[in-house]
Symmetry: C2
Subunit: 143 residues, 2 copies
Amino acid sequence: MPKELHDPIASRLGYLLRRASATMMADLGEALGAVGLRPVEGTILILVGANPGCIQSELGRALGIKRANMVPLIAGLTAQNYLEKSPVDGRSFALSLTPRGEEARARVDGIMDAHEAGFARLLADVDQQQLRAALSLIASGRD
Amino acid sequence: MPKELHDPIASRLGYLLRRASATMMADLGEALGAVGLRPVEGTILILVGANPGCIQSELGRALGIKRANMVPLIAGLTAQNYLEKSPVDGRSFALSLTPRGEEARARVDGIMDAHEAGFARLLADVDQQQLRAALSLIASGRD
DNA sequence: TATTGTTATACTCTATAACTATA
DNA sequence: TATAGTTATAGAGTATAACAATA
């Protein structure tokens, strides 16, 4: 039987958030394994589906991902025939889902619904509206 | 004025958690910059302070950090004279705070208190007991 | 002058495999 | 056989700097 440490940080809000976030992201990542996509990739398909014609800089701003780091993400999804690029400018490309991308997006959406529902069942006794409001407040920060 | 995307994932619990966690960890990291320590290092000082004589494997288990990744963490804190190792076994070392480590631990504790208080002020209208309970439930997962 | 896409690069965090020595 | 510490390594994720083409 392994020794258990007295843990004075386990009750800190920041670490509770970190653990809860890690658990949910790991669960989502495992669930999305069924479509062969990572959470960030599934999210991009959903965002492009909701905003056909958007450009990758806009996606990066919405997701908090730097332009430089969007390049391999979009290139990967395009190479796998999930996304199409068509020039709008001389410098940017309108993104849209291919038929295969739309099919994947629908599956991702269903997987995310089931993923959320699984945790919602766990939170039956919790005011979810208040929980979401609290998380939004925290995310907005102290400043 | 930059175009704003319609964002159907911003309301998902997992992403709310991720953003809230990122904001709090960034704030804590910035605050701990005053002691020249990262959040994980401050946490280790607090855990060793509460559990003198513990070994690094136990810390790793408490923090969800693999043994291999504990090595440079403990080595760094020992090299900076925050931690002391004394052999208990032929294979493991009891960890304790040096005087310098205890001084840093106290400062870290104060910084973490202020950090938490800043966000608690933001959550004046929230049932924090219920918030913490919800986060614990999520962290424990669906299984 | 600001923005878009891009390359290159680096640093952190995390993960596994393999080894040693000890229990 | 299991555990503690270690090394090496690989993969994400994220950050900056710099550049070309375009607005």
